[in-house]
């Protein structure tokens, strides 16, 4: 049982790269906090600093109000599950599970009892005498979990523990991890680059980009009210559409100028985004989730014409990539996305199967009630 606090933590490597920049974050006792961000954002560095495998350049890391900046990993009572599991290849499953207890010089009968308990908990009993090499990916993953659980550490650290598994197993073990963590109620810091994993696992999610903490909050908060355009684009699959727009007021009525269209903003929207009033006549970014866009009814007056560029049919839903007159803001999610989509399309997520073909013309309508607003620098307008 412990809390973790990051107080103005910075990490810079010798070559002048700032991996982490003045990060402040508190993980509560018993909480599962997910750190998520694109690769190279510094989330693993943060985890390794918590473990003591990486030095802190400045600032403080406190575990249970105790500054641990200079405490060696051996004395932090922190357990970690590595991305490649780091099982000891020359030891059997039993040897791997026993190792942390043997390092604590526990008596043999207690070690044996603990191994038995953990093996039963994780279904490892028939595998105890095998070497890691003779295990499947999922089994290795469970041994790695077992080795972390067995010593009753204060804190769990997990560094992309599911990334080496296939998709089906990932979903299965994701559920098991969440359940285990709830049962054991051990403070857990979980690193992943997969936003879906973050959303399903985390009680709270911390999003990091380029060494800066972007937003911390419950999955729902982050999804519905992203702090900035990065979070908006990163969270969700696919991420939020970001459209360049400007705010205009005509005859006392505030409206959005989207390309050649003018969209009057109804009173409830203005009421829930009071900050909008101070951005009149300014350029801004409008965010809208792909599922908040739908096909326009025949009698709609606010529709946009669009042309289908690509169709992703998933069975239960259809994702359309549309060309419209709207000017899209490049989604900064990952470098790969940037390379793929020079001029991003407007993404629309429709329930069920739709028989659209590339080149089809259609009319769409934005769900006005589900818009998010960001200023020119990408900060959310509250």
């Amino acid at each position: 049982m412990a809390t973790i606090e990051f107080d103005n933590v910075c990490k810079s490597f010798g070559d002048g790269i700032n991996a982490i920049h003045e990060l402040n974050l508190k993980v509560d006792d018993g909480e599962l906090m997910v750190l998520v961000g694109p690769s190279g954002c510094g989330k693993s560095t943060l985890l390794r600093m918590t473990a003591g495998l990486e030095e802190v350049s400045s600032g403080e890391i406190r575990i249970d109000d105790r500054v641990v900046n200079h405490t060696p990993p051996q004395q932090r009572n922190v357990a970690m599950v590595f991305q490649n599991y780091a099982l000891y290849p020359h030891m059997t499953v039993r040897g791997n599970l026993e190792f942390p207890l043997r390092m604590q010089k526990q008596p043999a009968n207690r070690i044996e009892a603990s191994v038995k308990r953990i093996a039963e908990m994780l279904d490892l009993s028939p595998l105890l005498d095998r070497k890691p090499k003779a295990l499947s990916g999922g089994q290795r993953q469970r041994v790695a979990m077992g080795r972390a659980i067995i010593r009753e550490a204060d804190i769990f650290l997990m560094d992309e523990p599911l990334s080496n598994l296939d998709a089906r197993l990932r979903v299965e073990i994701r559920g098991e991890i969440a359940q285990l963590q709830r049962e054991l109620a051990i403070t857990t810091l979980y690193v992943t680059h997969d936003q879906a994993e973050a959303m399903t696992l985390g009680q709270r999610v911390a999003i990091i980009d380029q060494g800066l903490l972007q937003q911390v909050g419950s999955p729902q908060e982050i999804y519905e009210r992203p702090n900035n355009s990065f979070v908006a684009g990163f969270i969700g699959s696919p991420g939020m559409n970001l459209i360049q727009a400007s705010l205009s007021s005509e005859r006392g009525e505030i409206g959005l100028r989207l390309g050649s269209k003018r969209l009057p903003l109804p009173q409830p929207v203005l009421a829930s985004y009071p900050g909008l009033a101070s951005h009149r006549e300014e350029r801004l970014l409008v965010g809208i989730r792909p599922h908040a866009i739908h096909l326009a009814h025949a009698d709609s007056t606010q529709h946009l014409a669009a042309r289908v560029c690509a169709v992703e049919a998933m069975g239960h839903e259809t994702i359309l990539h549309l060309d419209t007159e709207l000017i899209m803001h490049a989604n900064p999610k990952t470098a790969a996305d940037k390379a793929r989509e020079n001029q991003p399309h407007l993404l629309v997520q429709l329930n069920g199967h739709h028989n659209f073909r590339v080149g089809d013309q259609l009319r769409i309508e934005l769900g006005i009630g589900k818009l998010c607003f960001f200023d020119a620098d990408g900060r959310a307008i509250g």
């Binding site: 473990a51 495998l53 780091a86 020359h90 190792f99 010593r151």
Partner: protein
């Protein structure tokens, strides 16, 4: 084997290599094996007789040969563990990534490149008798004048240790390089996992480094053991087996028998014994490694 048109060309391609093996390894060994059961002497006018196992019997009744065997065993028993531990220590130090690693690695490896005959001559100078001998002078300085000058290579008690010391100095670099390569193959995350599991440096060495280094260690010890039984150059150049047979070895005795006393048959018997000895050591060490091989 399936016979097809590839077999012919394959056979054709391996023929030169097979021929070499046959001419220079198999044939001489077979000859030695046959000769070991005769009483052949070089330059003797007498006819060659088949004498059965007489040569082997006389070998094991020959105190010089027994002494040579014991010397080899002693040499292996001291040099193999000492040299391996030293090599491991050097490899661990070099693997820390401290400044100057490359320079030190080169320095430690240099003696391996020198021919043993050259090394032996240089160390003969180092071991020179009298107070002006380098080793004597050093020991005198290090012991604040308590050391009395010795003639290392002519002292029955000191000759063998002297040869051991130079052999370790010459051989340690090779072992170190092999172990260093092994160390660099150990994934860093294993150490990180062990550190988080509460293992300090010493226990990381014990539970991660040594088990992960198992195969290179066995290889290195195997090669060193075989080299220890082949001990000859140093002895030939520095002590000629003396004093009082203190440094004689199986190979030295063999060379003496064949080329100084012309007892070719006896020398052949010695090589057969030597071969069986090395073979059994290799077999033993293979057995050690075999069932753990899947770890590698």
């Amino acid at each position: 084997m399936r016979l097809n048109d590839q077999t012919t060309s394959a056979l054709l391609l391996v023929t030169p290599a097979l021929l070499g093996l046959l001419l220079f390894i198999l044939l001489p060994f077979a000859t030695a094996l046959v000769l070991a059961f005769t009483d052949l002497r070089l330059g003797s006018p007498l006819a060659v007789n088949f004498v059965g196992t007489d040569q082997f019997l006389s070998l094991f009744n020959d105190p010089d040969f027994i002494r040579a065997l014991l010397n080899n065993l002693l040499f292996a028993a001291v040099v193999v563990p000492l040299q391996t531990i030293l090599a491991l220590a050097l490899a661990l130090l070099l693997n820390r990534g401290l400044p100057g690693t490359v320079a030190f690695r080169t320095l430690f490896f240099m003696p391996v490149v020198f021919p043993m005959s050259l090394v032996a001559v240089i160390w003969s100078l180092i071991y020179a008798p009298g107070e002006n001998g380098m080793m004597n002078a050093f020991l005198q300085w290090a012991s604040f004048g308590l050391w009395e000058a010795k003639d290392f290579l002519r002292d029955p008690l000191l000759a063998m240790p002297a040869i051991m010391l130079l052999s370790i100095w010459q051989g340690v670099g090779f072992q170190m390089v092999i172990l260093l390569a092994g160390l660099q193959g150990i994934p860093q995350t294993l150490y990180e996992a062990a550190a988080l599991d509460g293992a300090g440096r010493w226990r990381q060495l014990l539970h991660i480094t040594l088990p992960q280094l198992r195969n290179p260690l066995i290889f290195v010890m195997l090669v060193t053991t075989i080299l220890a039984f082949r001990l000859f150059d140093q002895v030939q150049i520095m002590t000629r087996g003396g004093p009082e047979n203190a440094t004689t070895t199986v190979v030295y005795e063999t060379v003496q028998a064949a080329f100084a006393r012309q007892q070719v048959a006896l020398a052949s018997a010695m090589t057969v014994v030597f071969f069986l000895l090395v073979l059994s050591i290799t077999w033993l060490q293979r057995r050690f490694t075999h069932h753990e091989r899947e770890v590698a």
